[in-house]
Amino acid sequence: MQRNRAQRFFKAVWPRALAIGILLGIWQLFVMFGFSSPGGYALPGPADTWSEIVFLTRTGVLLPALLDTLERAAIGYAVALLFGTIVGLAVARIPVLRAGVGSLLAGLQSLPSVVWVPFGVIFLSLGGNVEFAVYFVVLMGAFPSIAMGIMHAYDNIPPLTFSLARSMGATGPRYYRHFIFSASLPGYVAGMKQAWAFSWRSLMAAELIIGSVASGGLGPILDDGRSLGDMPEMLAAMVAILVVGIAVNDIIFAPMERGLLRRRGLVPAA
């Protein structure tokens, strides 16, 4: 059993390790061939970037910034989840809303959420506090995916499920609990997963543009690296942002979705 587990872990990890290895190799190649910017900045290699990450961690810069950013992501995502769920359910169930808001949602989803930054800064930065503006940008970036996820999940419920519910006499809350919510769950989780990607993107855009060293977060470190010409710092921030985005998906959303689909027989058992 124990050995089985180790084997399974190894099996899951090696393709990813190989991919990262290849990526680092290409990066190193660019460095070895002396790739540099027109302005004369040399590209730091993986090793320099790594030691910068270690340095930023040791000096107490990286971790607090990471926590600031994660807190914003969590709050912004939670608000988007709540709002998107309500909107999605309403649009799925009420024909007038669907006709009016359905296509608008698709449009909102394709609208880069950066577009909301100036609006947020002007209307929602209360007394120079940009937090609300950041949450607003994350909300606008993420909620359409949640709402669209619910809408599509509801549309894809097999007609037989409705017949079954009716023939069993399920009405009201029990109709929703036993049939509608359960049947929509995979689509909802797929929407949640996509919404995480969107909210992480939106958050980075917002932090990069309106964040400051005072407001904290990973975005300002990235911006700081750019403005000071500190290439290792800039790349360290980029790596941290990438790793967080992947980690949240791999640790929370991917297993959630996989477990759900496996229980329903929609993917082969591992």
Binding site: L164, R174, S182, R264, G265
Partner: protein, 265 residues
């Protein structure tokens, strides 16, 4: 010589002629104006309590439409449908098991919806799973079952609904012949044990003869009742027995004659 009735255990002590389901002049028209289409015309029938009625017909004769109206999933354009009591349980060609629930949870779903207490629920589920032979698969998920087992599970779920009327819409049509034969035996046994009233829709003549007390033949465009047979072959019946084949041939001949002579019942 009604051997079938004589062999029924005396679970339900009512006069056999008491009408449990009554359809009177049921007509169903889909669409309006020029594009309208009459799926069923003036269908009247009575099903006695505890009776096993098979409705037989080629696809498109409106037999599924008829069943879904009896199930209350659709309304007749004209005519009335009366059911002695309760909401009928329905089984479809697709087992319609909920993939996120185990076999046990699927079977107990109707009881959960109607707020049956957990003690009674557990007892009923164990009894029903034993009845359909799925006791060992109670914790399996639907996708882990074979097609036949899925239909057994759907049957147990329909029985869990505690309705005296069971409607079946070609439930075994998608199964292989061997599995279907086993399920015929099981359904026959379970029907005798539970005393349910069954309306069973099929396009398979032998299946209808093997299972039904009565077989009702429908002809298409518009769907109407062509003829009715009382099946007085003793149970349990064999699919390839002389009697079943004989009556099946007679019905098939009538089926081939098509709409040439209507309403000779």
């Amino acid at each position: 010589m009604n051997l079938a009735l004589a062999r029924r255990p005396a679970i339900v002590s009512v006069e056999p002629d008491e009408a449990f389901v009554t359809l009177q002049g049921v007509t169903k028209v889909f669409g309006h104006g020029k594009t309208s289409f009459t799926a069923l015309q003036d269908v009247s029938l009575e099903v006695a309590r505890g009776e096993f009625l098979c409705i037989l017909g080629a696809s498109g004769c409106g037999k599924s439409t008829l069943l879904s109206m009896i199930a209350g999933l659709d309304k007749p354009t004209e005519g009335t449908i009366d059911i002695a009591h309760g909401r009928p349980a329905v089984m479809f060609q697709d087992p319609g098991l909920l993939p996120w629930l185990t076999v046990r949870r699927n079977v107990e779903l109707p009881m959960r919806i109607h707020k049956v207490g957990s003690d009674e629920r557990d007892k009923t589920v164990s009894r029903l799973l034993a009845m359909v032979g799925l006791t060992d698969f109670a914790e399996s998920r639907p996708h882990q079952l074979s097609g036949g087992m899925r239909q057994r599970c759907a049957l147990a779920r329909a029985l869990a609904q505690d309705s005296q009327l069971l409607l079946m819409d070609e439930p075994f049509a998608a199964l292989d012949a061997i599995t279907r034969d086993q399920l015929h035996d099981d359904l026959n046994r379970i029907w005798q044990e539970t005393g349910r009233t069954v309306i069973f829709v099929t396009h398979n003549v032998r299946e209808a003869v093997r299972l039904g007390d009565k077989v009702l033949l429908m002809t298409p465009r518009p769907g109407r009742v062509a003829q009715k047979w009382d099946v007085e072959i003793p149970r349990p019946r064999e699919l390839d027995s002389f009697e079943v084949s004989g009556l099946a041939q007679e019905i098939t001949a009538r089926l081939r004659a098509g709409a040439s002579g209507n309403a000779t019942q």
